[in-house]
Symmetry: C2
Subunit: 299 residues, 2 copies
DNA sequence: TATCTGCGATACTATTTCGGCATTGCTAGT
DNA sequence: ACTAGCAATGCCGAAATAGTATCGCAGATA
């Protein structure tokens, strides 16, 4: 039983005779006759009653009409499904992202562009800090991540620079810092600082700390927050000031004033798009293509 | 996408490499390589990542594994289903039968043999009198019937003689007829007779009446019954006597005594097995074969 | 580092399958 | 009796498929 035979069979059934079918399918009548006979021999069942005036379906033939249509349909469905999977029009894609950077228009635009271009892809976005993202990229729970890295050369990962962030000072709107803004890091020596845990994002933490050491600034930590949102909430509550990624200031937050400082602008915090090398998912390839398209490529 | 290609594809997947698969399916390795490539070209999708050490499935390839198995399975199911339909091992068969003759061991044996030999056939038996059977055979609501016919040559029907029935007298157990049995039809001249409607089974009716006329017997009808069961019930109730097919006496009925009369034995009531000529149902052919096997063939 | 081994890819040849053409045989309608 | 339309058959060329020999490549081995 071959697809060609089923196709010819349906043509004969629909045309009512081999001759009529041969005109419709543009195949000579003897070829059709033979394929029908081969099909019957394969099935060990007569499908037509031959008559000098056309052919008539047998009981088995009538059953095959439906089955053949289903089978050919099934094939067509598989074909289109595989094409969609292979070209990344459908499939599954898991992306990790640091919540803070959903606020960066470039990143948000990337995600919404992807959703719009490939609506057939089950695109899951997981808000995760850099450390967990790295772990999940390695054990394949994530296909890609938007995160901080200590270097662009990660073993087993490929990367693209997405955005170069900096730091910014967040102060309570109702505080002395809001009224008389500091201009240098040294002005913050006496300030109570809301700080993060190193464990959550060691790369970010170490980078920031190294920068402060270069400027001989030692923060006086009075409070810890688990993530950026928690930290900013505490700032809004007046518990202290915080030094956070500049991306945080893209969206206004009630009770908080963001203040730029030259020394914080100086601190490059590169944000990377990364994926496991060898991940051949076409859906991922399309996302990478969008990344490369949005910003000129880089190692 | 051809079945052969799917088969080879699964072999490669299961064997882990083209070479291993070629040993398993007894096809040279280049042939497999080529068919896999053709499959990929047809689907416009790469299915494997080629490596010097074997091949690895892509995302689309992984999806095709399941689909290909389903498709090949589907084909196998169709094949076996069609074979069963074509050989009459499955399918549907509607048989009409006069209720009275379910009591004839030959007929009952035929039905139970068929059920036992072909349990896969949806075998429906409709209790119908001869007239309705004939009508339903013609309009295809019945595939075959066990009935009375006025001749073995029926236009559009083929027939086999199943059983040659006769007539018998049924009298109430508690009556003068039971005590002093009649020996000739003439003895029944004064008897009240429970009679049937001609319309229900005209062949039977006319044949019986012609027989009576040959013996110059005129029944004194005092009651009509719609079918044999109704007639016998009325006899059992003592309303009168009845002349019924001898088959009725195969099973005892409370309140009724069956009496043979030479003049009733003389009346041949041939019971026919009949089907529409041109009905090519294999399930029917098997039933016909059983009929021919049970009793030597006849026109 | 040189060699070996097992893999997939390629080029070429042989075989099988398939389609087209011409023809025949058959039956229903005229 | 004749014709028209159908399926079946035989034969030939074309296309698809499989087989053989060989190559290039990468990982394992010494």
């Amino acid at each position: 039983m071959e697809f060609r035979q089923l196709h010819y069979f349906l043509a004969v059934v629909e045309a009512g005779s081999v001759s009529a079918a041969s005109r419709r399918v543009h195949v000579a009548q003897p070829a059709l006759t033979r394929q029908i006979r081969l099909l019957e021999e394969d099935l060990e069942t007569r499908l037509f009653d031959r008559h000098a005036r056309g052919m008539q379906l047998t009981v088995a033939g009538r059953a095959l009409v439906e089955e053949a249509r289903e089978l050919l349909d099934h094939r067509a469905r598989i074909k289109s499904r595989l094409y969609a999977l292979g070209s990344g029009l459908s499939g599954k894609l898991s992306l990790g992202i640091t919540v803070t950077h959903l606020w960066v228009p470039q990143v948000a635009g990337l995600l919404s562009d992807y959703r719009q271009c490939y609506p057939g892809v089950a695109f899951e976005v997981f808000p995760l800090l850099s450390g967990p993202q790295l772990e999940r990229l390695r054990d394949r729970r994530l296909d890609a991540g938007v995160l901080y890295l200590d270097s662009d050369a990660q073993p087993g990962l490929e990367t693209r620079l997405l955005h170069c962030d900096h730091l910014i000072l967040a102060v309570p709107e109702a505080s002395q810092w809001s009224d008389s803004p500091p201009t240098r890091l040294a002005d913050l020596e006496d300030a109570g600082i809301v700080w993060g845990f190193r464990q959550a994002s060691p790369v970010y933490y170490d980078r920031m700390l190294a920068h402060f050491q270069r400027h001989a600034f030692t923060p006086r930590v009075i409070q810890y927050g688990a993530d950026n949102i928690a930290i900013l909430s505490m700032v809004a509550a007046g518990l202290g000031v915080a030094i956070v990624p500049a991306a945080s200031s893209w969206h206004p937050m009630p009770g908080i004033r963001f203040l730029r400082l030259p020394e914080l602008d100086d601190c490059d915090m590169p944000l990377w798009f990364a994926w496991r090398s060898g991940n051949d998912s076409p859906a991922l390839a399309n996302l990478i293509a969008l990344v490369d398209e949005g910003s000129p490529p880089r190692g």
